[in-house]
C-alpha cells in the first residue's frame, strides 16, 4: 500500500504544492470545497454506475429517464467543480491539465479505494446525460490519466509515460472494440451479479482500464466504489481472458503496488494477451433474462431451464434468527454458479471430464437394465450437459517485461499459479545416475501416456462413428500412435540392459502402460513382448517391489490365449531352462511369485486347450516332446514346492496333469495347488 499512502500523506500535508507542477492553474478555494466534493463525487459515481447499468439493461436514454437519482449530486458536483480547470476549453495538449485536479482528489485519504475520475463527471453532466456515450474514447482517455498517474504517484516524473499509454494503440484499440461490441440490452430479470469492467471500459475508458489492469494482475477483486452494487452485468468469460483478472463482488483491499510501466499496460492489452474482444460479440441466442457468456452463445437448454427456475423462485426472505445470513447475496451465488458452469464447458467432455462421464454412463446402463427388468423409471438422473466450446485462447503463462529481472506470473482460471521454473540439476554422483536414468525413463513414460490416452480415445470414437472415411482415418491415427509408443518404449535403455522394454517394465507406470498398450499391438509385437517378459521374468519378479506385475496379467493372458502351439512351446521352454547366473530355473522362481505362477498356469492352460480342442495344430518338430517334458518338469516342481496363490487358476490344469501323470502325483499336485488357493483346483 505504499503507493497509495504516499499520495495520501502528500495530500494531507501539502495538497497542491508538490504534486502537480502547474498548481497555479488551481483555484485557491478548491481546497475546502473539495472535501464536500469528494463525498458527492463518490455518490455521483455510484449513481452514474447505476445509470450506466440501467442504460445498458433497459436501453433508456439517460436524459429521458425519469429515474435520475444522480441528478442532484451531479448538480452539486457541477457546482463544486466549477472552479476546476476546464479541460474542455483547453484543447488536448496539454492533456495533463485536467489530471491534476482529478489526481488531487484521490490524494484524499480514507474512503477512496478507487482512483476514479471526478473531472469526467462534470463534463458529462454539462454535456447532458444523453451525450454520455457519445465518444467515450475521447472523453475517457483524458480521464484515464489521472488514475494511472495516481498509481504511479510517488514519482513525479510519470507524466510523459502516462501520455504515451493513451497513445498506445492497443489500449485505444481495446476501447474502440469494446465500444463497437456493445452488449445488447437484456431484460430486467438479469441474473448476473456484476458488470464486467471490460464492458464498462467501453463506457469509461482507461480509468477503469488502467485500474483494472493493475488489479487484475493480482486477482484482486475490485469494486468501483464503496457499497457493492449487485446489479452489474457480468461476463465471466471476459474475466477469464484478462490475465489474472478475476472480479468478485466483494470489496477489495488495495493491492500491493507493482511497478507498472506503460509497457506492462501494453502487454496486458497487446497482441499476445488474450483479447477480450471476441467475448463482446453479442450472443445470438440470448436466453430471456440471462446472458450466456463467451463465444458459446448459449447454454444447454437444460441449463437455461435450471437457471430460469432459479430466477423465478421468489426471493428468500432473510432468516430471522441469523442476522448474518444474507452476507452472500443471491446474485453472488449465481455468479459463482455461472462461473462453475463455464468451467465445465468443454470440447471433449469424455476427455476433460472422464470420471463424471463414466459414472453417468454406468448409472444410465444400470437404469436401462432396470427398465428392462422392472417398470420404467419416471425420471432420469439429472445429467450435467454443457455445450461444446472452443477452448479459450491459450494464455501466456509468463509475461516478461523488458528490463525486468524476473518473470511475472500471469494467472488465469486455467492455471491459477505458475510455479517457478524448475531447472533440472545435473549431478554426477554414480548413485544419482541410476536414479536419473529411472527418472528419465519415467518422464518418457509419462509423456507417452498422453499418446496412449489419445489412442484409447480414438478407439472409443471409432466404435461410435459411422462414416467410413472417418473410421479409416481414425484407424490410421491409432496405428501411427501405437507404433510410436511401441518404438519409444522399446528403446528406453536403463543401465544398458540390452533388452528392449526392460527399462520401462521395471517401472510400475511402465508396466501399466504396456498392459494398456498390448491390446492395440499387432500379434507379432505382442508376442515379442510376451517373450521379453518371460525371458526376463526373474529380473522383473525380483525388482517388483510395488507388486505391480499383476497389472500385466490380463493383457498377457489375452495374448497367450491367441498363441499357436509352437509359439507356446517356445515360451514354455524358457521356464524350464536353467538361468545363466544361477541354478534355479524360472520355474522355481515363478512358484514363489504370484505373477510368475499365474503366467505359467496361463501358458499351460492354453496348451491344454489347444491339445484338447479339435482345431488342427501345426506343431513343429519336437514340439510335443518338449511339451511333455515341460509338463512333467512343471508337475514335479509344483508338487514339491509350496506355491503362492496365483491370480487365476485355470480350470483345465488338473485335467492336463491327469493325462500325463499318475494318480498319486496328481493328487499331491492337487493338494498343493489347492492349499495355495484355498479353492478347489478343478471340478473333475
Amino acid at each position: 500500500m505504499g503507493d497509495s499512502e504516499h499520495p495520501e500523506k502528500t495530500g494531507e500535508s501539502v495538497p497542491d504544492a508538490s504534486w502537480p507542477e502547474n498548481g497555479d492553474q488551481w483555484s485557491d478555494k478548491g481546497e475546502e470545497e473539495d472535501d464536500e466534493c469528494e463525498l458527492l463525487q463518490e455518490m455521483a459515481e455510484e449513481d452514474e454506475e447505476i445509470d450506466l447499468y440501467n442504460e445498458e439493461t433497459f436501453g433508456l436514454d439517460e436524459a429521458t429517464s425519469g429515474d435520475n437519482p444522480a441528478a442532484d449530486p451531479m448538480d452539486l458536483l457541477l457546482l463544486c467543480s466549477d472552479n476546476s480547470p476546464t479541460p474542455q476549453s483547453s484543447p488536448p495538449p496539454p492533456p495533463i491539465s485536467p489530471s491534476p485536479h482529478s489526481s488531487h482528489s484521490p490524494s484524499r485519504p480514507g474512503s477512496r479505494v478507487w482512483p476514479h475520475t471526478p473531472t469526467g463527471r462534470p463534463q458529462r453532466g454539462r454535456a447532458g446525460r444523453g451525450q454520455l456515450f457519445d465518444d467515450p474514447a475521447v472523453v475517457k482517455t483524458v480521464e484515464g490519466r489521472p488514475s494511472l498517474k495516481w498509481m504511479m504517484a510517488p514519482q513525479k516524473s510519470s507524466r510523459p509515460p502516462v501520455a504515451s499509454i493513451l497513445q498506445d494503440q492497443a489500449i485505444v484499440g481495446v476501447i474502440d472494440r469494446s465500444r463497437h461490441g456493445r452488449v445488447p440490452p437484456v431484460s430486467p430479470n438479469f441474473l448476473s451479479p456484476m458488470r464486467p469492467f471490460s464492458t464498462s471500459r467501453g463506457r469509461r475508458g482507461p480509468p477503469f482500464v488502467g485500474s483494472f489492469n493493475q488489479r487484475c494482475h493480482y486477482q484482486n477483486p475490485m469494486v468501483p466504489c464503496s457499497p457493492f452494487r449487485p446489479q452489474r452485468l457480468f461476463s465471466p468469460q471476459q474475466q477469464y481472458n484478462q490475465p489474472g483478472g478475476f472480479l468478485s463482488p466483494s470489496r477489495p483491499p488495495l493491492s500491493t503496488p507493482m511497478p507498472h510501466t506503460p509497457k506492462l499496460m501494453h502487454l496486458q492489452f497487446g497482441t499476445d494477451s488474450p483479447r477480450p474482444a471476441p467475448f463482446y460479440s453479442p450472443s445470438t441466442n440470448i436466453m430471456q433474462g440471462f446472458r450466456a457468456p463467451g463465444p458459446v452463445a448459449q447454454f444447454h437448454p437444460q441449463h437455461k431451464r435450471l437457471l430460469s427456475q432459479r430466477q423465478q423462485r421468489p426471493h428468500r426472505k432473510p432468516v430471522s434468527w441469523d442476522p448474518y445470513s444474507q452476507i452472500m447475496t443471491d446474485k453472488e451465488k449465481e455468479w459463482i454458479i455461472r462461473l462453475q458452469m463455464i468451467q465445465l464447458q468443454s470440447k471433449n467432455p469424455h476427455l476433460d471430464d472422464y470420471y463424471y462421464q463414466e459414472y453417468y454412463q454406468r448409472i444410465e446402463a444400470k437404469l436401462a437394465e432396470e427398465e428392462i427388468l422392472g417398470d420404467r423409471l419416471k425420471k432420469e438422473p439429472p445429467k450435467l450437459t454443457t455445450p461444446y466450446v472452443t477452448k479459450a485462447l491459450s494464455y501466456i503463462p509468463v509475461v516478461h517485461i523488458e528490463g525486468s529481472l524476473g518473470q511475472v506470473a500471469v494467472s488465469t482460471c486455467f492455471s491459477p499459479r505458475r510455479a517457478i521454473d524448475a531447472v533440472h540439476a545435473n549431478t554426477s554422483d554414480e548413485h544419482r545416475d541410476t536414479r536419473r536414468q529411472r527418472l528419465e525413463v519415467l518422464s518418457t513414460i509419462e509423456k507417452l501416456y498422453i499418446v496412449l490416452l489419445e489412442v484409447e480415445e480414438a478407439n472409443k470414437m471409432k466404435a461410435t462413428v459411422s462414416d467410413k472415411d472417418e473410421e479409416r482415418r481414425l484407424m490410421q491415427n491409432i496405428k501411427r500412435k501405437v507404433d510410436q509408443l511401441y518404438n519409444e518404449l522399446r528403446c528406453t535403455n536403463l543401465l544398458d540392459s540390452g533388452e528392449e522394454f526392460i527399462s520401462c517394465l521395471l517401472i510400475s507406470k511402465g508396466k501399466s502402460m504396456l498392459a494398456r498398450l498390448l491390446p492395440f499391438l499387432s500379434p507379432d509385437a505382442s508376442l515379442h513382448i510376451l517373450s521379453v517378459v518371460t525371458k526376463n521374468l526373474p529380473v522383473l519378479m525380483s525388482k517388483d517391489t510395488d507388486e505391480a506385475l499383476p497389472v500385466l496379467y490380463p493383457s498377457l493372458r489375452a495374448v497367450i490365449d491367441r498363441l499357436a502351439f509352437s509359439q507356446l512351446i517356445r515360451n514354455l521352454k524358457e521356464f524350464t531352462a536353467t538361468l545363466p547366473d544361477s541354478k534355479d530355473t524360472r520355474l522355481t522362481l515363478a512358484c514363489q511369485n504370484k505373477f510368475g505362477l499365474s503366467l505359467l498356469y496361463a501358458l499351460l492352460s492354453q496348451g491344454e486347450r489347444l491339445l484338447s480342442s479339435d482345431l488342427p495344430m501345426e506343431p513343429s518338430i519336437g514340439d510335443f516332446e518338449t511339451w511333455t517334458d515341460t509338463v512333467f518338469h512343471v508337475a514335479r516342481q509344483l508338487s514339491q514346492t509350496t506355491l503362492v496363490e496365483p491370480l487365476l487358476l485355470p480350470s483345465n490344469l488338473l485335467t492336463l496333469f491327469c493325462r500325463y501323470l499318475d494318480k498319486r502325483t496328481v493328487h499331491q499336485l492337487k493338494n498343493n495347488m489347492e492349499s495355495a488357493t484355498g479353492y478347489l483346483a478343478v471340478a473333475s
Binding site: 448474518y324 451465488k333 454458479i337 458452469m341 465445465l344 510400475s508
Partner: protein
C-alpha cells in the same frame, strides 16, 4: 437444488455450520458465510478445535478467511448430533498441554523406531528411490 448435477458446489452450504480441515492439520468449526470460485471460505464465529485422544478444546477465533487451496476437506456439522458425543470437552489450557505431551511422545517413538531400524541394518527408503511420484 443443485443446479449442476454431478458437480460439487458449496452454494448449498452457505450459512451452515461447517467443520473445515486445513492442510496444516488445524480443525476449524464455523458458519460458512461466503465462498468464491476458488473455494476460498469465509467462516464466521469460528472456533479452532484441538483434539487429543478423547478430549477436545475450543479456541474461539472469530472470522476466518481461508484460502481455498489450504482446505483438505470440509463438511456440514449436524447440529443434532454435535453434542452427544463420546468426546469430552476440556479447557483450552488443558488441551494445549495434552497436545504438547502427545507431540513429545510421538517424536520419542519416531526416534526409537529410527534407531531400531538402523541397528538392524535396514533403511527407510527415501522418496527418490521409489517409483511413481
Amino acid at each position: 437444488m443443485n443446479y449442476m448435477p454431478g458437480t460439487a458446489s458449496l452454494i448449498e452450504d452457505i450459512d451452515k455450520k461447517h467443520l473445515v480441515l486445513l492442510r496444516d492439520g488445524r480443525t476449524l468449526i464455523g458458519i460458512l458465510r461466503s465462498i468464491d470460485q476458488f473455494a476460498n471460505l469465509v467462516l464466521h464465529q469460528t472456533v479452532e478445535r484441538i483434539h487429543v485422544g478423547k478430549k477436545f478444546g475450543d479456541i474461539p477465533r472469530g472470522i476466518f478467511v481461508v484460502r481455498g487451496e489450504n482446505v483438505v476437506l470440509l463438511g456440514e456439522v449436524d447440529l443434532d448430533k454435535e453434542y452427544d458425543q463420546i468426546l469430552q470437552r476440556v479447557s483450552i489450557e488443558e488441551i494445549l498441554e495434552e497436545q504438547r505431551t502427545e507431540q513429545q511422545a510421538k517424536q520419542e517413538s519416531e526416534r526409537l523406531k529410527l534407531q531400531a531400524v538402523k541397528e538392524r541394518g535396514l533403511s527407510i527408503p527415501k522418496a527418490d528411490t521409489l517409483d511413481d511420484f
